[in-house]
């Protein structure tokens, strides 16, 4: 899973529209990860195709903004990825200390 995909997925534990995802990921990472529009579009397409996120409605203020949320499969994948990243960090820290 790429960094961008991971951040989009974890941002969608709450319902958000496209631009909301960009803002949340930027805030979450202290401005380190800024999603560009084309990158977000490509990632949303892939996540939808793989059933990891779903549409749950539209923004009442603007019907063209679709609201997304992570699916059960997506949540499962987040947990799996967190475990993988954790063990990567542990391995790195341990080997560096030796």
């Amino acid at each position: 899973m790429t960094e961008v995909t991971f951040y989009i997925l974890i941002s969608l534990v709450e319902p958000l529209h496209g631009y909301g995802i960009i803002l949340k990921v930027e805030a979450m990472t202290g401005g380190r990860v800024k999603l560009a529009a084309g990158t977000l579009y490509g990632a949303l397409n892939n996540l939808l195709n793989n059933g990891l996120i779903e549409r749950i409605g539209v923004d009442p203020e603007n019907q063209r903004r679709i609201i997304y949320q992570v699916t059960e499969l997506g949540e499962y994948l987040i947990d799996h990825e967190i475990e993988r990243l954790k063990s990567m960090v542990e391995d790195g820290v341990r080997e560096r200390r030796n």
């Binding site: 800024k34 084309g38 977000l40 397409n45």
Partner: protein, 189 residues
């Protein structure tokens, strides 16, 4: 027709756009904006500009592809929210512009994977459109006998044209594929 003060002047510039020249195309449009010509619409083989004050604009082109999972309206909304203005579109290509400011905001792709995805979408379209073209060139033509045709010279001409298109098509496929390979093998941030 007289152009008075406040009348919008349009200028049409004929230009072919080759997909493997994306960067050159972007530079051309940005240069025009600095000269005071702002892109208003894109059509096959030409651009239409509106005369205005010189502007520092950044252009980006994206190819939406065949995927219909995300509608055009939603796609455009994502770009609009990110500060991009749609300048024109043609055959699945979308031209966006925004006033130059923070460098990061001026990119439409923030990693190599998504940048490469645009080439993947172009390749998908090329392969689908290529199938009938190659079928015609490889299987249908050799089996046509000219005597049985009503207009042999017309068919000869038609054949030459199709073979030229097929050659162009193959070179586009090869070029786009090599750009795709180059992009995915680039160093990741």
């Amino acid at each position: 027709m007289a152009f008075g003060k406040g009348v919008i002047k349009m200028k049409k510039i004929k230009k072919w756009f080759w997909v493997w020249n994306l960067e050159k195309e972007k530079a051309f449009l940005e240069e025009k904006a600095r000269e005071g010509l702002i892109l208003k619409s894109v059509s096959l083989g030409s651009y239409t500009f509106e005369e205005s004050e010189p502007k520092a604009l950044t252009y980006q082109m994206d190819f939406k592809g065949l995927d219909r999972k995300i509608s055009e309206a939603e796609y455009l909304q994502i770009y609009e929210d990110a500060g991009w203005t749609l300048a024109g579109n043609l055959g699945g290509w979308y031209y966006f512009s925004q006033e130059s400011r923070d460098e990061m905001d001026l990119l439409i792709f923030s990693d190599n994977d998504s940048k490469a995805a645009i080439y993947k979408r172009i390749l998908a379209v090329l392969l689908i459109t290529g199938f009938p073209l190659y079928y015609q060139t490889i299987f249908v033509f050799p089996n046509l006998s000219s005597e049985r045709l009503a207009f042999p010279s017309f068919y000869f001409f038609f054949r030459i044209i199709l073979i030229l298109i097929a050659i162009l098509h193959i070179s586009a496929l090869v070029k786009i594929f090599s750009m795709y390979r180059k992009t995915i093998s680039g160093i990741r941030e």
